[in-house]
Symmetry: C3
Subunit: 295 residues, 3 copies
């Protein structure tokens, strides 16, 4: 492809981490890859996953997975660095791509999104590592060298012993719950604009028998009415919307303002979605409701 050395097995590494951009961590990982596999292009998915937040990192990777260029995915959110948690390389699509990172659930949802693992190895080989003065930067010393080696054509089997995919730490994708008073949903993600993605697709609303374009949203015991819209700009000032977002999931939105700030919602918060008629009170704002407690 396009001027890269003919002998590169993969020419793209998609890199996600919780390293932030303030320190030099991301730049050093780029430099290590540039040195070990000079023709490879590194694409930064994001490095601002909240520190140590494996769930958020895994969801970000799952959202991105279908759009990433074929190649190697390097993902590092790794609170267990230096312990005996395993480093792994997960081949998908019979080698179309390989995901490299810690075995802590971070890679699991993305792997599932692209059809599951066809081969997994634990990164036990010491041949494709940097010698490190301390054991706390495996992104630089273990994972980046492994990703670079894969790009250069080192077989995944040379990076360590094959392990059973069933032994991998699973990811945690919360499922919506059908409840007496509606569907118990959970906030997967609040984006930069304050849009609140729920773990619900449009089809999940069908069993509710919603009529019209309005729906009840219950948060912490308080009720709000949301209107189904296709675009943010269809909403009036302060009007709450429920839109199918760019990943096909339902999101609570406002026009040019943060719905998350307005509703006091963050990732993992509980939200109940119900038909408008489900509301036993006439004004739909103040009736006592059973507050769903997060499991």
């Amino acid at each position: 492809v396009s001027g890269e050395p003919a002998d590169l097995r993969y020419d793209t590494i998609s890199f996600l981490s919780d390293y932030g951009r303030v320190d030099e961590f991301v730049g050093v990982v780029h430099s290590v890859i540039r040195t070990l596999a000079p023709g490879v292009t590194v694409i930064d998915v994001t490095h601002d996953v909240p520190a140590h937040d494996v769930r958020a990192g895994g969801l970000t990777l799952a959202r991105s997975a279908q759009y990433l260029a074929p190649g190697v995915v390097l993902a590092v959110v790794d609170p267990g660095v230096g312990t005996d948690r395993r480093g792994i390389a997960v081949e998908v699509g019979d080698g179309a791509s390989v995901l490299v990172g810690p075995d802590n659930g971070l890679l699991a949802s993305a792997v599932a999104m692209v059809g599951g693992a066809t081969r997994v190895v634990e990164l036990t080989s010491t041949e494709h590592r940097l010698e490190a003065p301390g054991p706390t930067f495996d992104g630089r010393d273990v994972f980046a060298p492994a990703a670079a080696a894969l790009c250069r054509g080192v077989p995944v089997g040379d990076l360590g012993a094959e392990i059973d995919p069933l032994t991998l730490r699973p990811g945690m994708l919360p499922l919506p719950q059908i409840e007496d008073d509606g569907i118990g949903a959970e906030v997967l993600w609040v984006d930069r604009f304050g849009n609140v993605q729920l773990n619900l697709g449009p089809d999940d609303l069908v069993p509710l028998g919603v009529e019209g374009d309005r729906i009840t949203v219950r948060i912490d015991g308080a009720e709000r009415t949301a209107r189904r819209v296709g675009a943010y700009a269809e909403l009036g000032p302060g009007e709450l919307g429920l839109a199918v977002d760019s990943y096909g999931l339902l999101a609570l939105v406002l026009d040019q303002r943060s719905a998350a700030d307005e509703l006091g919602l963050a990732a993992s918060a509980a939200v109940t979605v119900a038909p408008l008629g489900d509301d036993p009170s006439p004004n739909g704002t103040s009736s006592p409701v059973t507050l769903r407690s997060k499991a």
Copy 2:
């Protein structure tokens, strides 16, 4: 150019947005381009335009325009996404470069800076798009694929119907106003260091008949004296300077401190600049002045 495939029409995409870096939006757009036009280099101008701030994005693009490598400019600050606002591709310099983004004024100042549009199309073709589960991420689904297609040599006319450049939404570049008590200026930009760029060039001060190197600056009714300097470090501690900035405009500056914080100024704020002698009071700090109200 340099190892890119010989058949690339453009090998550089300069990318500006209000997507921020915390979510994966920027990384996903890079990935889409990498997949559709692998040999193209994407340069991130910035992605921290304030959310939905078309004016700030347009000014940033205009400041950058003369420095960008020839190729495609992909610019997305798009509060109207999903509505009937048009997506456009604006050819400049008879094809030297093409700017792609929403028709909301974002591109206008940059287009003007580089000599005006030679051809404009509305991005109506569905051939060069990604199928999207929801309509809120046109950067990924519409604009990036269009930019990649242009790089691959797809003629701009294949992206949609040609439209009259005169129908484009104009940008809003505030002009300084000659007033009784000086020049009414406006803050265009506060940079990371707190330097306050005004919509004034050095020539704009000529009609004021300023003598010497000191000038009066009136903000919210309060007056300060600023000294014309060539470098921040010429200023004493706390001394206010007026410098020609790196874009040739006048900026209020302090040495190693934020003039914006010190003066309480943000983008769009009004600042009146006047000769020192224009100050009716002897001490130049406390006389009542007519406060210019922003139109």
Copy 3:
């Protein structure tokens, strides 16, 4: 190398600055390099060095130096821009790499890390510059064009007059001090995770005659006990650890929390490290101690 033009002398520029990512400064520098030396890959080490903080920038560069790909290092933290401080190009390893930036101590520690300067020139030539409307963006107008010229094979001697390396502004690397009550250390760096790097290696503790895995840490007169650990996750909740970090220096750490926040520490703060038995009080937390004042 890998599709870059055969006539590139260097194909990688490693770029560090205090420009931040909010403005377009970094993107414009990338664009200038892309225009002047199209086949060069630019790696962003970081751009979030605190504004004007030459010490922090120099330490970041020194930490990164051994991992950077051979080529040109472009480093800009430059509070003296526009004054008569010199711009310099520092050749190391007889031309293996060249560091470009202001002569204010920023480059000094990194140059020392990689074996010292083999040749230094002051960037006096006006041939390899951009004409600038104002003198405050030397990263764009002076340093990036110089870096691009070096990549294209322009001899370092063509960029200006050779100067004596001994005349360069030195960097400031604080050395630990042996004191009556332990070793007086200094915080070099607090990273994104709140780990507190000290200017101490493990060998520096040997003269203390520390026994066992616990050690006393004195901050602002208060004492804490820290435990030597290999990984963050070995620590109990709230337990303070002393680990060899990824650069081989000692760092105060907590498990999945910020030690800097917990201890109230920032860069340049003083920390005294002493053997556990050195504590004259039985409980080790409240005895009056001589507070080390920073020189």
